[in-house]
Amino acid sequence: MAIKLFREALREALIEEMDRDERVFLMGEDIGRYQGSFRVTEGLFQKYGPQRVWDTPISEPGFIAIAIGAAIEGLRPVVEVMTWSFAFLAMDQIVNHAAKILYKSGGACPVPLVIRGPAGPGRQLAAQHSHSFELWMAHAPGLKVVLPSTPADAKGLLKTAIRDNNPVMFIEHPQLYLTRGEVPEDEYTIPLGVADIKRQGRDVSVITYSRGVLVAQQAAERLQQEGIEVEIIDLRTLVPCDWDTVFNSIRKTHRAIALHDDWRYAGFGAEIAAQVQEHAFDWLDAPVLRVAGADVPMPYNKHLERAAYPQVEDVITAVKQVLA
């Protein structure tokens, strides 16, 4: 296996799927000639030309709507948003249109669409470029929601997302683009709705995704030195969600922590806590804890920003609390 950057793995997925299916095309702001804000699409305009890689005006509602229309007519658009914060302009297109067209057409009109791009804190981009909106997407029935944590997962999940016949919201953490990991040489895909146990442990289950996996891994290394064995469940996809893997882990550890960068209040951690108490209550030895983003707009100052989303110490503290 070769070691690759997260963003290279994403690019490989785009290339393989574009080569495989002519109906797959890319659309977004500055993804072509400029090479993409995070250089995920670097070189693709040169490779495929303007018929496959579309630089758009700064019109999120417009080009996301166009992608939805192209999808119902049979194409397989992959739209890049510069950050998910900008996708908010197109919430009507995403939630009122993409998510509902199959249902309101009585099953006649599928929408095979991927919207992908970065969301998450850590680069001092402050209030309007830093938030992570997976919960908003997961809340709307009809959207699939994917948040990979490793280069290998990013590639395999993106390939599956592009082949899926539903709108898939593919959310990439900006702190992950320059992380490295092993990526299989041979062609592979990873199904949506299958969690991955990134670390086995007997004492506490940390249920997380995206950057949370990396934070949990660092916390687990340190806790191991104190004899505490953390199990890390990487959900990988929130919709569909592999709850069985979560419940099975809790049957073993009897303790659970939900971890994410997104706001805590009514965040996905609340859903995790609710699911666990509904389906695994008898196995719990302690309440489910949440480690999540502070309920504030993201501040600019470096120290304030760091305090506004989960750090390794926060996870360690929560693990000790749940074991106490």
Binding site: G69, Q93, P110
Partner: protein, 336 residues
């Protein structure tokens, strides 16, 4: 474009032309009767939700849709009964959808505002004002991408002129030369707000004229003028591969929605409605057909009666059809 009134004499009209004229008459009459039945069924509680009728505006859909080819697509806003009926959807399925029945176009899941009928090239009615403009632009994008030779008709109301999405999409359609005809049905009002109070520039064709493709205002009350304009516009879009914007001046006789109780009176007068009724598209075509000796009153009367029978049969079918089973609730959220 100058759409001149046709004054052909019967003798100079080909058999095909005669059939086309009668077909347009048949469709407009069918839509009129269909909508009148819907109004009644709504008051009997057989139809729920919001119900927006196309009475008075029939010529716009019928004239444009008469010029389509099988690879073309149509999308519209929520006032969408006329589009599917003109496209040839089975009136029984359309009525059953309105009654919420499983035999409906969308298995009872769309209701009046969100029809789909892929088999007849209708890719959706959209109930968010302006929403259809984005989706239709994307359908045209796909037609161009796949080089199908097809074009897309996108119907919406004057109220949608003020949606930012319209201007984003007109810009991209102009940039990318997409084969789409935007048709604004200017029926003078967005609900109860007249165009003069919602659009800084009331000539809507003019307002849409800055995106690098042609834009025209047409008489939407005369189906012959609509058809003639549509023929030229659609041919232009197909051959030149660029968008076109059309403002069809039309009028709705009935309230914004069937539930409206303040109309007429609150925002428009009965007299205004009566003035517009003098330009009724069905009566206008009727007159043209008789005055030019193209057919007899009896023939047109027979078409009218046949349309009434079709609507009665559609209503009977809808009445007798079953509701969707409860399992249907969970179906079609995702595609396998």
């Amino acid at each position: 474009m100058s759409a001149k009134t046709r004054t052909k004499k019967a003798a100079t009209i080909s058999k095909e032309e005669r059939e086309e004229l009668l077909e347009m008459y048949r469709q407009m009459v069918l839509i009129r009767h269909f909508e009148q039945h819907c109004d009644k069924a709504y008051r009997q509680d057989k139809i729920g939700g919001y119900l927006h009728l196309y009475i008075g505006e029939e010529a716009v859909a019928v004239g444009f849709i008469s010029q389509l080819q099988p690879q073309d697509r149509v999308l519209g806003h929520y006032r969408d009964h006329g589009y599917v009926l003109a496209l040839g959807s089975d009136p029984r399925k359309v009525m059953a959808e309105l009654y919420g029945k499983v035999t409906g176009l969308c298995r009872g899941k769309s209701g009046s505002m969100h029809f789909y009928d892929k088999a007849h090239n209708f890719l959706g009615g959209y109930a968010i004002v302006g929403g259809v403009i984005g989706i239709a632009t994307g359908v045209a994008f796909a037609q161009k991408y796949e080089n199908t030779g097809g074009i897309t008709l996108c119907f919406f109301g004057d109220g949608a002129m003020n949606a930012g999405l319209l201007h984003e999409c007109l810009n991209m359609a102009g940039l990318w030369k997409l084969p789409v005809v935007y048709i604004v049905e200017n029926n003078k009002y967005a609900m109860g707000t007249p165009v003069e109070l919602h659009s800084a520039v009331t000539n809507l064709a003019h307002r849409a004229s800055v995106y690098g493709f042609p834009s025209v205002q047409i008489d939407g009350m005369d189906v012959l003028k609509v058809r003639e304009a549509a023929r030229e516009i659609i041919a232009h879009v197909r051959t030149h591969q660029e968008p076109y914007f059309v403002e069809a001046i039309t009028y709705r006789y009935v309230g914004h929605g069937a539930a409206d109780i303040t109309d007429p009176g609150s925002y428009r007068t009965r007299e205004e409605i009566e003035e517009w009724r003098k330009r009724d598209p069905i009566a206008t075509l009727h007159r043209y057909l008789i005055e030019n000796g193209i057919c007899t009153k009896e023939e047109l009367e027979a078409i009218d009666q046949q349309a009434q029978r079709v609507v009665e049969e559609a209503a009977r079918f809808a009445d007798e059809s079953p509701d969707p089973p409860l399992e249907e609730l969970w179906q079609h959220v995702f595609m396998d």
